[in-house]
């Protein structure tokens, strides 16, 4: 079944079936969901890579589809994340108040995603976007917070509204809703206008500065198995819109001579870099592991924006590679946290410690994910960051580079924090009974671990596919890659070699280690305390305000954006109250005045 239409209908159908199955038994329903997702993923993977999907439409006549490499790149990543996450459902669903609808909405949102990336019609794109938004919006409040869903919905809606206005501006100028024709057909001021609108949409979906407030709220409070989807998959919708705006629309505006880049792109890159800095600083400060990862998503969103606005083949490839690497990394990290949260019931780092002794595989999954997230070889994140760095250096974007490097180094700080506070350190007595995650949950964990390493060692296939996208959408030169190497402006990166040498180094270290005298195994509590007897492991666990000296430096400023949006909501409410006072008065006289005002106004205006 390689017809997109059938896939969509299949998903909608299985969504309904899964609702009833879940009602019957949540385990059965979730297993069904796994198979449904797997079926879709396998169909996409089997036919999509070579663009062999059938796009003809027979049952849904008002839809039209077309396949592009770009769309497929996103779809396959997102479908993969969905598949991986669905393995978590059997163990989480019972905790949620409306578990029956969970699988339903989950599958519906996947249908929305497949539709969104395969459609060639703007209004359908909007249709699928809105569908994704509302289905996922109902998934989020099943977690911890309702407010989170509201803010997610608010910002997403702002984004899609901007998108829709942009679509209508295009329509007004081109007269068609066809995506390719529409993007190609606009020029001049219109294209700038559309660019701005599309970028607002992209920023909102990607959760980048200044539209990032929803990100930590939604990621942090969403149901544990849904956070990986949000961070690994859904924010990437913004990247897609970003590509449409930055690469496809690419309005002609003033060019900054020194770096040979259009002002619009530079502004977006600057916003991206603000996002990087902001996300990094906030992540460093955050205590909730999931919110921390959410802020890291924000900063990675910034990287993606910087990459796409650099308008350079390497940067574009780097950006796409980063989307893949970050999807895998953040999914891996969030899934590890989800496994911990399932076992312990919390994601607050100050309440956790020493989980490594109970959940070593989960720990490894998290470790590999964060290595990729921090852009350290031999994981995928390194290759993408390396490509982005090349472009930034090539352009000589110094101020952007400050942010890019800051975020890169800062990511060591924040990814390390959950590692230290949550997995390492003292083992808490309240978690003595905790066990490693069940096998079904370890399957995706292993797969993602493997893929994180794969993307970091053998870039060939991915780069080849990205070259297809480059050829399809841009005029950039393709990126040269052999099995293990990637070549960019300033040299060649041999990812395979790095991994090999790293292995050699570890082997040498291991030989040294094994040759020497065997160590005496001691308890964790038997640790240097300046000869004090400490028997409470909580006292020996350093996790609260981990980066206190650093945090102190920007503590006051860290709430500015949140305050701004709070104030905005408050102001809107006040306007509403004023309007109520003005229009909805209990006094009939007020209405009379309005009537008179309108009459006078109308007659006055017309008389003039």
């Amino acid at each position: 079944m390689a017809n997109i239409e059938y896939l969509l209908l299949f998903l909608v159908g299985s969504a309904v079936i899964s609702y009833f199955l879940t009602r019957l038994n949540s385990f059965i329903g979730s297993i069904f969901t796994i198979f449904a997702t797997m079926f879709v993923f396998v169909s996409l993977a089997a036919y999509g890579f070579n663009m062999n999907l059938d796009t003809t439409v027979s049952l849904l006549p008002w839809f039209s589809f077309s396949q592009t490499y770009l769309g497929f790149f996103f779809v396959i990543i997102i479908a993969f994340i969905y598949l991986m996450v669905s393995f978590f459902h059997p163990y989480f669903l019972d905790k949620y108040p409306y578990k029956n609808s969970y699988n339903l909405l989950f599958l519906l949102s996947l249908a929305g995603i497949i539709g969104a990336f395969y459609t060639d019609h703007f209004l359908q794109l909007f249709f699928f976007f809105e569908m994704i938004i509302w289905t996922t919006m109902f998934l989020i409040p099943q977690g911890k917070s309702r407010e989170a869903a509201v803010s997610y919905f608010g910002f997403s809606l702002t984004g899609s509204v901007a998108l829709l206005i942009g679509i209508f501006v295009i329509y007004q100028n081109v007269g068609r809703f066809d995506i390719q024709a529409g993007l190609a057909g606009i020029s001049g001021t219109t294209s700038v206008f559309v660019f701005v609108l599309f970028m607002i949409a992209a920023l909102a979906k990607l959760g980048t500065f200044p539209l990032h407030i929803w990100l930590p709220l939604a990621h942090g409070n969403a149901p544990h198995p849904f956070s990986p989807v949000l961070s690994g998959a859904l924010v990437k919708l913004g990247a897609f819109i970003g590509i449409l705006a930055l690469i496809k629309i690419n309005p002609i505006g003033p060019v900054i001579g020194a770096i040979d880049l259009a002002l619009g792109q530079y502004i977006i890159a600057f916003i991206g870099s603000l996002s990087i800095v902001f996300g990094t600083l906030m992540a460093i400060k955050e205590d909730d592991a999931k919110k921390l990862l959410a802020y890291s998503s924000m900063s990675h969103g910034g990287y993606i924006l910087v990459a796409f606005s650099a308008l350079n083949g390497f940067a574009f490839a780097g950006g796409l590679y980063h989307i893949l690497a970050h999807a895998l990394a953040s999914a891996g990290a969030f899934m590890a946290i989800a496994a911990v949260a399932r076992a312990t019931g919390t994601t607050k780092m100050k309440e956790l410690g020493g989980m490594i002794h109970k959940m070593p595989i989960t720990y490894l999954a998290y470790l590999i994910a964060i290595i990729s997230m921090a852009g350290i070889p031999p994981m995928g994140g390194f290759i993408s960051k390396w490509l982005i760095f090349q472009a930034v250096i090539d352009r000589g974007m110094i101020l952007i580079a400050v942010a890019v490097f800051f975020g890169s180094v800062g990511s060591f700080l924040y990814v390390f924090r959950p590692l230290a506070a949550l997995f390492l350190g003292q083992e808490f007595r309240e978690y003595k009974h905790v066990k490693e995650a069940p096998l079904l949950m370890l399957i995706p964990t292993f797969i993602i671990m493997g893929l994180n390493i794969y993307t970091g060692v053998i870039p060939k296939q991915i780069i080849d596919f990205i070259n297809n996208i480059i050829g399809e959408n841009t005029a950039f030169a393709p990126v040269v890659a052999t099995t293990f190497t990637v070549t960019a402006t300033y040299g060649t990166l041999n990812a395979g070699l790095i991994a090999l040498i790293f292995g050699v180094g570890v082997a040498i270290a291991f030989i040294i280690f094994i040759l020497m005298k065997k160590s005496r195994k001691v308890e964790l509590m038997d640790t240097y305390t300046a000869a004090n007897f400490v028997h409470d492991e909580h006292l020996l666990h350093y996790s609260v305000d981990f980066y206190a000296p650093l945090e102190r430096m920007y503590e006051k400023q860290s709430h500015w954006m949140k305050k701004f949006y709070d104030a905005l909501a408050h102001k809107v409410k006040e306007v509403g109250k004023l309007a109520k006072y003005l229009f909805m008065s209990n006094n009939i006289g007020v209405t009379l005045i309005w009537i008179l005002v309108i009459i006078v106004l109308l007659i006055g205006v017309v008389a003039l």
């Binding site: 005496r520 038997d526 240097y528 000869a531 007897f533 400490v534």
Partner: protein, 191 residues
């Protein structure tokens, strides 16, 4: 006719270990790191020993921050019941081989505090001491001499306090418990 060819004599494992141990001893005696457990007045002798007057570093010695890293537990001065408990704890945390150097007369016989109810008179009842530096207080030359003595002992494989501790662990433990008493409630206020 004797063959000129060198035929290595196969060594037994014990002999190999011994050889390695001797090599190790060379390194150990030339790099003695101190953990200074300074509860008494003798500690005042250490700054001159470390700085330019006597320059401990030329012997490869130096102060260390934690018992894990240190080779020598330097006990300077008297030990009360409370500090003894901590001393033992620290001693047990050190990596082996470990040596104990006791400064002054207090660890030997209680010194001027010998009749206090709270002071331990003989340190080697509780942990093995490799070198005593007598005097109240010993002057810096004596302290340095003590360290050189320890090196000499290591060289001649006589600095075996840490082995003794293992061998006579029950005896040491019994002494510790007799003096310090059992601790029933394990928390930081009772120990």
């Amino acid at each position: 006719m004797k063959s000129t060819k060198f035929t290595p004599v196969p060594l037994t494992k014990a002999e190999t270990d011994k050889k390695w141990w001797e090599i190790g001893d060379f390194f150990r005696r030339n790099s003695l790191w101190l953990l200074m457990y300074c509860t008494g007045c003798c500690a005042i002798e250490l700054p001159p020993a470390m700085t330019s007057a006597y320059d401990m570093e030329r012997l490869g010695m130096g102060p260390m921050a934690t018992p894990r890293q240190a080779d020598i537990l330097l006990v300077s001065g008297y030990l009360s019941l409370k500090t003894l408990r901590r001393l033992i704890y620290t001693y047990e945390q050190m990596s082996e081989p470990r040596y104990v150097v006791a400064l002054g007369s207090c660890p030997i016989n209680g010194g001027i505090y010998h009749d206090s109810h709270a002071v331990i008179n003989q340190l080697d009842q509780y942990i093995p001491v490799d070198v005593y530096v007598a005097g109240c207080m010993p002057n810096t030359e004596a302290v340095m001499n003590g360290f050189v003595d320890l090196m000499d002992q290591i060289k001649h494989k006589r600095a075996n306090g840490w082995k003794k501790y293992h061998e006579n662990y029950s005896w040491y433990k019994a002494n510790q418990i007799t003096s310090l008493g059992e601790v029933d409630v394990h928390d930081e206020f009772h120990e």
